[in-house]
């Protein structure tokens, strides 16, 4: 795809990132990426997650031209992947970044702003407010070597914003940052979103991502296992949990079992509630679980519970957490075991490695 074609495609589909079939095989045959397809919309906060060695950083580095892909199609801000001209509109904070020790916080912003092609007057104008934004104004004239890890992260985020980017790519931005700092960073990200910027986050902190991301992708062993909004990804796992008042675990299972027609429900088994046979149900730790998102379908079950004289302690609508999704993605459905971390080794025949 040439440059003009790529720009046309990127603009047409409103994608900040739209890459397909990204492959990366390192020397020695290690397949870091095995055909990644990823779509990030303009103006959203997108989270990329996955276990260690899944290829997240490799993908980010390919987008930032730090490494070259073995094969890649698609666009990044409307330009072809690897096109240097695009990078002037991108802010980037790499993982484990190391700023020169001899620079002060202010000089870091000035230097990397200049490297992004921002004129001197603009850099001077932007540096103060950005340091203010990340809470580092008082440290602007101190050398980076005197900073804590969290402070370096804050300055790193500020430098990523020096060129007023259309997209900010942050690799583990809250690494080493205390809870207050994490909240501050979340606020910065929300503010960027409000300003219409796209934020691409790569993080291990699932709860952090869950709080801010509009859409996420989960990468496992060099491939995107699933991607979409958190709502879309959790739709299948949504359920109602009815906690019956009981004194012992066995009693709880017994009561729940009564509702499902059996004498006692087995842990983890799928059963049918007699009051609503089309509904899938289960019992976990004495809690009756109804696999539905529709409250109307729950009412007959509640009526049945009351009819039998059982006490309801609580009724909750439950949505799987990002951690649940993550764990599901990294679990081998056949064996139920967690997939081995790391990338795959290319087979001798060259037809891709196994997981």
């Amino acid at each position: 795809m040439d440059h003009s074609e790529a720009v046309a495609t990127g603009v047409a589909n409103g994608a900040a990132i739209d890459v397909r079939g990204v492959h990366k095989t390192y020397r020695g045959g290690v397949q870091a990426l095995r055909g990644v397809d990823l779509f990030v919309k303009h103006g959203e906060i997108f989270g990329l997650l996955g276990p260690n060695g899944a290829g997240k950083s490799t993908l980010v580095k390919i987008l930032m031209t730090v490494i070259s892909p073995s094969r890649a199609e698609g666009t990044f801000l409307g330009g072809p992947v690897g096109y240097k001209g695009t990078l002037g509109r991108v802010g980037y904070l790499p993982e484990h970044h190391r700023f020169p020790d001899y620079l002060t916080g202010g000089q870091v912003l000035d230097f990397f702003g200049a490297m992004s092609g921002v004129p001197a007057r603009e850099r001077k104008r932007r540096a103060g407010p950005l340091l203010e934004l990340v809470g580092m104004s008082d440290w602007a004239k101190k050398r980076v070597k005197s900073y804590s890890k969290g402070m370096r992260q804050r300055v790193g985020i500020a430098q990523a914003l020096m060129n007023d980017p259309d997209i900010v790519v942050l690799d583990e931005p809250t690494d080493g940052v205390d809870p207050v700092g994490r909240r501050d960073i979340r606020n910065v990200l929300q503010r960027l979103k409000e300003e219409g910027k796209t934020v691409f986050l790569n993080s291990h902190l699932l709860s952090e991502l869950e709080m801010v991301c509009d859409r996420v992708a989960i990468m496992v062993q060099g491939k995107v296992a699933s991607q979409g909004t958190i709502d879309e990804l959790t739709r299948d796992g949504r359920r109602y949990e009815i906690d019956l008042a009981y004194e012992t675990e066995t009693a709880g299972r017994h009561f729940a079992g009564m509702l499902t027609g059996g004498t006692e429900a087995t842990q983890g088994a799928i059963v049918r509630v007699s009051a609503m046979p089309e509904l899938e149900a289960g019992v976990e730790r004495g809690v009756l679980i109804l696999r539905t998102t529709e409250p109307e379908k729950v009412q007959p079950v509640l009526d049945e519970i009351r009819r039998r004289g059982l006490t309801i302690r609580s009724v909750r609508q439950v949505r799987p957490s990002l951690e649940d999704l993550f764990m599901r993605a990294v679990t081998d459905p056949a064996t139920g075991e967690t997939l081995a971390p790391g990338a795959a080794k290319k087979s001798r025949r060259g037809n891709g490695g196994g997981a």
Binding site: K61, V66, S68, K84, L87, P94, H96, M115
Partner: protein, 392 residues
């Protein structure tokens, strides 16, 4: 241009943060002070406020401006800036490329809208900044000293800046390549020093070969002339011997051992001269071949010593050098130049050195600078290919 300037400013900030940069600058200042403390007066020379009388080292024999220029071009630049300051510069700058390509630092630079080749070459230039600033400060200070003490304002001294930069750039290109390959500052420093020593050794070997070749050529000329004069003498002696009826060979017609003709019998020195001439011819052929091989080898390598010598070539004329070298000759032999005999009996070391100097001085600037810069361009080309293709 914004990026290029930013990288250069960053390079200056990095140097500014290094203690060694300021230590070297302070030492340069000390050297300039020592330079300024030395002076010539009509009766001799002075150091600080002490005056010493000297027959030749005085302002009547050597004009003060020539003296200062000679000290600058022969000691200040070749000894201080080329050796001591350059080693300090290498120690300071060997880590620039390895640090630059280390994980955590390189990602941010590569993710900016600047081409990799331009990024690398600009970073390489920041390594030259150390020497550039040092040599500029040193040269300007020396210009002041020569202007004030020697009463001669010579802009040609500024030539030292590009020449020393050129010299250092050959070494730093190698340092950058090693740093890029090994990502180790220590390896880059040590291997560059080794490379420098190799260049120095090759240069010394080349000078020795050239000296031997020139000595052999001078000996051929010397013995050829001597043969001609001895032949003339032998012919006269032969005539006289024949007139006196002195037998020139034994009864079997054989000449005495080591002599092959009547002329040689008449003047035995002729045979000795002819033998020496033959030996000189054989020696000349051998040294000419060795010298040619060495020159070919050195053609593809940077010529550090010759590059620095260019400064002397442009600042001091051969006559100036002869004047100063005659003082040195006097110092070493104790014989006044005026007393020296005009009749050469053998090729002296001094003569051989002078001839070697003439040959080396006669080498073209293109050969000295062109081929050295060619080598540097190839090394930097390799660096750029590696840097542009590497995954970080």
């Amino acid at each position: 241009m914004i990026q290029t300037w930013a990288i250069l400013v960053d390079g200056y900030r990095e140097l500014n943060s290094k203690k060694l940069f300021w230590i070297t600058m302070a030492l340069s200042l000390l050297v300039v002070c020592a330079f300024a403390a030395f002076g010539l007066h009509p009766a001799g020379y002075s150091a600080l406020w002490f005056k010493f009388d000297h027959a030749f080292l005085n302002s009547r024999v050597i004009p003060p401006e020539k003296f200062y220029t000679f000290i600058f071009a022969s000691i200040g630049i070749p000894v201080w800036l080329t050796w001591i300051a350059s080693i300090l510069a290498l120690i300071s700058t060997a880590g620039i490329i390895p640090d630059f390509v280390t994980g955590g630092a390189i990602e941010l630079s590569l993710s900016k809208p600047i081409g990799r080749v331009r990024l690398f070459l600009t970073k390489y230039c920041t390594g030259l900044l150390f020497v550039g600033l040092q040599v500029s400060a040193f040269t300007l200070a020396c210009m002041l000293v020569i202007g004030i003490r020697g009463r001669s304002w010579e802009p040609i001294l500024l030539l030292a800046i590009p020449i020393v930069l050129c010299f250092y750039s050959y070494l730093y290109a190698m340092c950058a390549l090693i740093g890029l390959l090994t990502r180790s500052a220590i390896a880059a420093l040590l291997l560059t020093l080794l490379f420098w020593i190799l260049l120095f050794a090759l240069n010394a070997t080349d000078s020795v070969f050239v000296m031997q070749r020139e000595r052999a050529k001078a000996e051929i000329e010397l013995y050829t002339n001597r043969e001609v004069s001895q032949l003339r003498l032998a012919e006269g002696q032969l005539r006289a011997l024949k007139e006196m009826g002195t037998p020139l060979s034994d009864e079997n017609g054989k000449f005495p051992e080591g002599l092959s003709s009547e002329l040689e019998v008449a003047n035995p020195m002729l045979a000795s001269t002819r033998r020496k001439l033959e030996e000189a011819k054989v020696s000349s052929t051998a040294w000419t071949r060795r010298s040619a091989i060495m020159t070919d080898v050195r053609t593809v390598l940077p010529k550090t010593s010759e590059t620095i010598k260019l400064l002397e070539r442009y600042m001091l004329s051969p006559d100036d050098l002869k004047l100063l070298s005659r003082q040195q000759e006097y110092k070493s032999t104790g014989v006044s130049p005026a007393d020296a005999s005009d009749e050469p009996r053998y090729v002296s070391d001094q003569q051989a050195a002078q001839m070697t100097e003439d040959v080396l001085r006669g080498r073209s600037v293109w050969w000295v600078l062109g081929t050295s810069l060619g080598f540097e361009a190839v090394v930097l080309g390799v660096c750029c290919v590696i840097f542009a293709r590497r995954d970080f």
